[in-house]
Amino acid sequence: MQRKIKLVIDSDLENIALIGTAINKLCSLIPLSDEEAFQMELCVVEAVTNSIKHAYGYDSEHQVEINFVLSSEELTVDICDKGTPLDKELMEKKFKEPLECDDTDPDNVPEGGRGLAIINTIMDNVSYKSEKGINCLTMKKRFNLLVGGAKGPVNG
C-alpha cells in the first residue's frame, strides 16, 4: 500500500517553516529516528529554498509543490517548480563536492553552496527532471519496518 500527500506553497521564504514542520511530523508515521526526521526536513527545506531562490529568483508569485509518498520500505519526496531549471551538470558537480573543507580558516570556508551536497549525503537516491516546464527534484530514503525508530507500522 502507498500513502501520499501533496503540499503546495507560494514561493515565499516565509512559508518554508510550514513545509518543514509538516514534513518532520509526517516522518513520525514511519520508523525514522528523530534525527532522521530532522534530516528529511532539512533536505526538503534545502530543495524548497533552492526552488524559491534559484528557480524563481525570490519572486513570491509562483508555487512550489511537494509530493510526499510513503510505501512500505521507502519514502519518496519530490519538490517541483515551474521556474528556471537546475543545470544537471552543475548538480552532478555539487554532488561530488565533499562537504569536508580542509581549511579551518573561516575566510576559506564558503558561505553557501552546500544545499545539494547535503541532500546527496543524506538521501539514498536523488534525481532531477525538467519536462514541459515542470522541474522536479526527486529524493528517496529507504527505511526498514523492523528496525529504526520503532514508531509502529506505516499503516498504524
Partner: protein
C-alpha cells in the same frame, strides 16, 4: 526567528529562538553587523531554543564570523540541540566555530 539580546561582561549574547533558515538568516547577519558598527565585536550565539537550522542558517553564521574576525572580534556558539549539532558536524562547521555547552562557558572563554 526571534533574537533576544543580553550583555554579559563585555560580550553580547544573542539567544536565538525558532528556526534559523533562509527566511531568518539575514536577520542574524544584520544584527551582528549593527553591533559591529558600534565596535561590539565579541559574541556568543546561544542556540538552546533553535529547533531547526539549514545551510542558509549556517551560512549566516559563517558570514557573521568572517565579518567580526576581520575587525578582531569573535563568535562562539553555545547550547546546541542534538539535531542541530549533527548538522554542524555533517557540514564540518564544528571545526570552524568554538562550541560550548552553555552561554556562560562561552562568555568565560573570552576572558583569557
Amino acid at each position: 526567528m526571534v533574537i533576544v539580546e543580553e550583555r554579559m561582561d563585555s560580550v553580547d549574547v544573542l539567544r536565538l529562538e525558532g528556526r534559523l533558515d533562509a527566511s531568518s538568516a539575514n536577520d542574524l547577519k544584520e544584527k551582528v553587523n549593527d553591533f559591529a558598527q558600534e565596535k561590539r565585536l565579541n559574541f556568543v550565539i546561544d542556540m538552546a531554543a533553535i529547533d531547526f537550522i539549514d545551510s542558509s542558517g549556517l551560512g549566516s553564521l559563517v558570514s557573521s564570523l568572517r565579518s567580526v574576525n576581520k575587525l578582531g572580534g569573535d563568535i562562539k556558539i553555545a547550547s546546541l540541540k542534538d539535531a542541530v549539532r549533527s548538522i554542524f558536524e555533517l557540514t564540518r562547521l564544528h571545526r570552524i566555530f568554538e562550541i560550548f555547552d552553555d552561554a556562560e562557558a562561552a562568555v568565560k572563554s573570552f576572558e583569557v
